[in-house]
């Protein structure tokens, strides 16, 4: 009887632990390839960002929202554009190939993918060597993008985007690789970077 009771209690505790949502953490890792080889790792619980962002007030940042007037996208209805892409099938929607760089914008399931690859064909040989293989990969869930653009045209709702990020288990948001720096921003439930 005693063993059974203990078993039930342990079972309930395990169930409770599993039922409670694990903290999500946003990680930022920057590794510089220069002679100093600086390395920066930042690990922030999303719940901390959610709690702190509404308390920060500066001229451009207030209530978790940042003013971005004067930028190109306050002239374009990004929300409508995003919604149109979200409703269509998976595809590569934008491909820009230039001398300097290739840009691809695609939809894959619930994610918007942006890839930038530097070519630098007109650069000097020295620059070509340093810029060859420079890539930027951005993966944004449509829910997060919508949340980010949920305010007026001249505003980014960072707080809403962070809240939307909370729904995702593991998510590679941004990867930047160039000759000098390696930047990675991702979300998972580990409290330490790799």
């Amino acid at each position: 009887m005693m063993k059974r009771t203990v078993g039930v209690i342990v079972g309930m505790l395990v169930f409770t632990a599993l039922a409670l949502p694990a903290d999500r953490w946003i990680h930022i890792r920057v590794i510089e390839a220069g002679p100093d080889g600086d390395r920066v790792r930042v690990n922030v619980p999303l719940s901390l960002a959610e709690a702190v962002l509404p308390t920060i007030r500066s001229d451009r940042f207030c209530d978790g929202k940042v003013k971005v007037e004067g930028h190109a996208f306050d002239q374009v209805d990004l929300r409508a554009l995003l919604e149109a892409v979200r409703k269509t099938g998976d595809n590569q929607y934008v491909t820009v190939e230039s001398r300097d760089e290739n840009v691809e914008v695609a939809k894959a399931g619930e994610f918007l993918l942006i890839k930038v690859h530097e070519n630098c064909k007109h650069c000097t040989k020295k620059d070509q060597a340093s810029k060859a293989g420079n890539t930027v990969d951005i993966k944004i869930p449509f829910k997060v993008a919508n949340a980010l653009l949920s305010g007026p045209n001249d505003e980014l709702n960072v707080l809403a985007a962070i809240r939307a990020l909370d729904e995702y288990q593991n998510l590679e948001l941004v990867t930047v690789k160039d000759g000098h720096d390696d930047v990675r921003i991702w979300v998972d439930s580990n409290n330490a970077a790799d």
């Binding site: 600086d38 930042v42 719940s47 901390l48 709690a51 308390t55």
Partner: protein, 140 residues
């Protein structure tokens, strides 16, 4: 037992209880060691329970404009303290360069800040519970 002994026992009990409370709250620790010749070394350990009271006792004239600078950030510090106290232990910020190593991490309800540079080493630790109260007193 005489009345004197009873009073002494009571006083010792109060002191012991106070010590337990103070120790349970943890300590604020500041350790700064300069690396140059003839360098200074500052080492300060303050029970966290008395940190807000100590902050309260600092004369306002000595705080200059610190109060005005801290005050707008009080809600942020309070919100951060509450959330950090709730989240798991672990590294928050790590910076490694040729000249400087910085670690900010949370461990057992306290924040630890370690800086090791060419000029000095700095270790600061404080319990999260005391942080918001102490800063509130500085901004009063």
């Amino acid at each position: 037992m005489t009345a004197g002994m009873a009073i002494l026992a009571g006083a010792l009990g109060v002191v012991a209880a106070g010590t337990v409370v103070v120790c349970n709250e943890g300590a604020v620790r500041v350790d700064v060691r300069e690396k140059s010749r003839g360098s200074n070394h500052i080492h300060l350990i303050l029970p966290a329970a008395v940190a807000p009271a100590a902050a309260f006792m600092i004369p306002r004239s000595k705080l200059h404009d610190a109060r005005d600078k801290i005050r707008p950030w009080l809600p942020t510090i309070k919100a951060a303290s509450v959330e950090l106290a709730r989240c798991a232990d672990g590294p928050l910020v790590e910076v490694d360069s040729r000249r400087e190593h910085v670690r900010i991490f949370k461990l057992r309800g306290s924040i630890f800040i370690d800086v090791d540079s060419d000029e000095e080493t700095v270790h600061v630790s404080f319990p999260l519970e005391a942080a918001a109260d102490t800063v509130s007193q500085l901004a009063r």
